[in-house]
Amino acid sequence: MDQIGFLEPRPAVLARRREIVADLLDLLPEGCLVHEPRELVPFETDAFVSYRRVPLAVALPETTAQVAAVLKYCHRYGVPVVPRGAGTSLSGGAIPQEDAVVVGLSKMARILEVDFANRTATVQAGVTNLAISDAVTADGYFYAPDPSSQLACTIGGNIGMNSGGAHCLKYGVTTNNLLGVKLVLIDGTIVELGGKALDAGGLDLLGVVCGGEGQLGIVTEATVRLIARPEGARPVLFGFDSSEEAGACVADVIGSGIIPVAIEFMDKPAIEICEAFAGAGYPMDVEALLIVEVEGSEAEMDAMLASIIEIARRHGVKVVKESQSATEAALIWKGRKSAFGATGRIADYICMDGTVPLGQLPHVLRGTAEIVEKYGLRVANVFHAGDGNMHPLILFNANDPEDAARAEAAGNDILKLCVDAGGCLTGEHGVGIEKRDLMRHQYADVDLAQQMAVRAAFDPQWLLNPSKVFPLEGRPAA
């Protein structure tokens, strides 16, 4: 199998392992450095679990100053650094390498300030996405971007990957909801970008850092926008006889100028998996399902629903089912948000993350089915349809190396299909290592060279998360 490569570990760093550990022990409080070989193994991967590299050490700092001290040290001695939030990346963004110190933000998980007057929250980078919403729910607010992993993933990781979620169709992804960060640069300098306002003066460096995949610096604090909870919200289920019809319906809804809060898609295998886990009452006699959420006052919701139902009828919708209670609504979302994990009940999977223009949804869904069939595998589709952000889950057997290789090859073909359809390699999971070698399929060399130049401006020695995002060949000399 043509495995995705990592950078060769730097022999000079490996040779100094003991000194590095001893020095880091001096820099950090007790219990904040993991260095016993056996204890390092659980950090060897993230949610892209087919790739693994045991790191040299794992630092778990408690303060920004400690993060800065560790980075300054690593910079001085040329030690690579891999930032880690909750390790839920699906593209391998948080997978270490043998010569790297992982800097984990899991001990920095405090909410620092909630400012209702300015509708902002300032939190440490290790705070989970959901914890922000939980902290302000009682006051009628929430933090909008909601990755399905929101229970566990951190705001630092969300910034790293510019994460999105079901409700981003209306509210935008992380970058649209991020107002400021405290960032530690690789040489240990601490900078603040942005603030509490929607736009700060000067170059939009915040926009560059968001989606930087841990290559530009380590975020230790973030200020995010809070949004007032709508008066009401209602998820509605639309069942169709074919995936293509459901896909065409999504394109028509968005094409007609209607923007619901969320349009999520599930095909039959996904419906079965999610229903078995959540018992949400999804219709089982359909081939594809859309979860459409509308919000606002009762009248607003009714009006928007009426227009969506009309469009759905034109596409032969078979079932329309409104949630009857808050509990039912919660179950509908629980089933959807647990989709990937629940898939683990039946098989191993890799999750793709291509984005396509909405008009291409039916074409790409068909193409995906063909590719997967060609490789003799199965697929479940569950994704953010309103954004055209597809997530085919390719099911395989991880204990069978040939099956795993086939799954990876099928995944690559699917991503190329997305790009060729005018789309993009990644919607929200980031490039990581997973899609790194496909970057050339999407970008011309000159585009990549420009991106690498920006990256190198932050980290000229390529120490931060260096095995990721940019193909290993053709990089500028560090």
Binding site: L151, G341, R345
Partner: protein, 432 residues
């Protein structure tokens, strides 16, 4: 996740079970967020996903346990919050049970740790010894501070702190025997007498028996029953745990054969989780597998059983109850709604404290063996409970009662004591 076991390794049925469990984990990390020790310590090694990985690595390599693995497994509360969260259905409970057996078989603990665990295993499951120990503890309390200053002796200090200031008289216990139904008999159940609970709070089973008999259910407290074995089970002392399980299976089957049983009633959810698992624990014992499965199927938490009796709605009492769901109740047995419905029907206003999924830190002997983490969890739990401004705290597990009571002045009772009171029983003494 991919696993790496040889066919020879998989020939061991324990390894085979664990391998199946590991294969289901997709390493998504969801479980970390709701794990009390991860939330407290912020290190993935003290999270479910980290522990699963440590166990996987140890078992795959056929290694004896080492100090590092033991540290992180010992810190696990066995609260099973991770299994509630896990969308993939990873059976963490049986995986960590296996790991604990492996540790017990392959790792020699430092002297003081061995001593503490040995003392706990030799005292707690035996009511007579436990009573004596508590009396001794009353004398020893002044030394708690001193003990805690010497790290290896900290658990003994924690024990003294937890020991109640005065003990109920042994006479308050509901001894073995048959308690006939008042009026026509509508059911017959056995009640688990238990080990520590009847010494600390005999009123719990007394209230249960009063309530059930009043509702027309005959209750038998069979002679010859022993501690359910959960305590030693969680220490990895499998032989001792299975011995206890077999004894109890025999006793209850005797009752079933005598006059039939509709249920085996358990008033401590920690014990309930274990008894419901007897079928699994004894699956490899051909003489007991089937019998144990029968017993497990009959095991019911008292609130589960009461729900089947369809109690009438009572008048409001003007009392607010914060319901604390024990981990063994909500995560172990997945009983979440029944106790609250019962309390509401009984006329109480019920509050759900925030972060209800997090353990109070009691967790069997955890508050003795891991006093530091346990103390932090207790403080957090009490803060969340007190924020609901309750008159009373109700819960279904003796461990939580003892733990939370040392952190708050609000009276804490077993749910069944409140239900008994609401349906014609006596008012619990602490409320008068």
């Amino acid at each position: 996740m991919q696993t790496n076991f040889t066919p020879e390794q998989l020939a061991d049925p324990h390894v085979a079970t664990s391998e199946k469990i590991l294969r289901k984990c997709v390493h998504c990390g969801f479980c970390t967020a709701t794990c009390p020790t991860y939330v407290t310590l912020g290190n993935e090694l003290d999270s479910p996903r980290g522990r699963i990985y440590l166990i996987k690595d140890m078992l795959e390599n056929g290694r004896p346990a080492d100090a590092e693995v033991v540290t992180h497994i010992d810190r696990c509360l066995s609260c099973l919050s991770c299994t509630t969260t896990c969308p993939s259905g990873v059976d963490y409970m049986h995986l960590v049970d296996h790991a604990r057996m492996h540790i017990e078989a392959t790792y020699r603990r430092p002297f003081w740790n061995r001593l503490t665990r040995g003392v706990l295993a030799a005292v707690l499951p035996y009511p007579g010894r436990f009573r004596l120990a508590l009396k001794a503890a009353a004398l020893g309390r002044p030394f708690a501070g001193l003990l805690k200053r010497f790290k290896p002796l900290e658990p003994f200090g924690a024990m003294l702190d937890l020991a109640p200031r005065s003990l109920p008289k042994a006479a308050g216990e509901a001894g073995p025997g048959t308690y006939p139904a008042a009026g026509p008999r509508r059911g017959r159940v056995a009640i688990l007498t238990g080990c520590a609970q009847p010494v600390l709070k005999p009123e719990i089973n007394a209230a249960t028996i009063r309530l059930l008999t009043r509702l027309g259910v005959e209750v038998v407290a069979p002679a010859g029953e022993v501690c359910c074995g959960s305590l030693v089970h969680h220490m990895g002392r499998e032989a001792q745990a299975l011995e206890a399980a077999r004894r109890n299976v025999d006793v209850w089957l005797g009752e079933i054969e005598k006059d039939g049983l509709d249920a085996i009633i358990i008033t401590a959810s920690g014990c309930g989780t274990t008894i419901k698992d007897y079928g699994f624990m004894l699956r490899l014992d051909p003489a007991y597998a089937e019998k144990a499965a029968r017993v497990s199927a009959l095991a019911k938490d008292i609130t589960e059983y009461l729900t089947t009796l369809d109690l009438p709605q009572q008048e409001a009492r003007g009392l607010t109850v914060a319901y604390h769901s024990a981990c063994s109740m909500q995560h172990g047995q997945k009983i979440t709604i029944a106790p609250k419905v019962l309390l509401k029907k009984a006329g109480f206003a019920v509050r759900d404290p925030a972060e209800g999924h997090l353990c109070c830190g009691s967790a069997g002997t955890y508050n003795i063996l891991q006093p530091e983490i346990s103390g932090k969890l207790k403080a957090r739990k009490v803060r969340n409970i007190e924020a609901t401004k309750p008159d009373i705290i109700a819960t279904g597990n003796i461990g939580c009662i003892t733990q939370i009571a040392t952190g708050t002045a609000i009276p804490i009772l077993h749910t069944v004591e409140l239900i008994d009171w609401a349906y014609g029983g006596t008012k619990p003494a602490v409320l008068s």
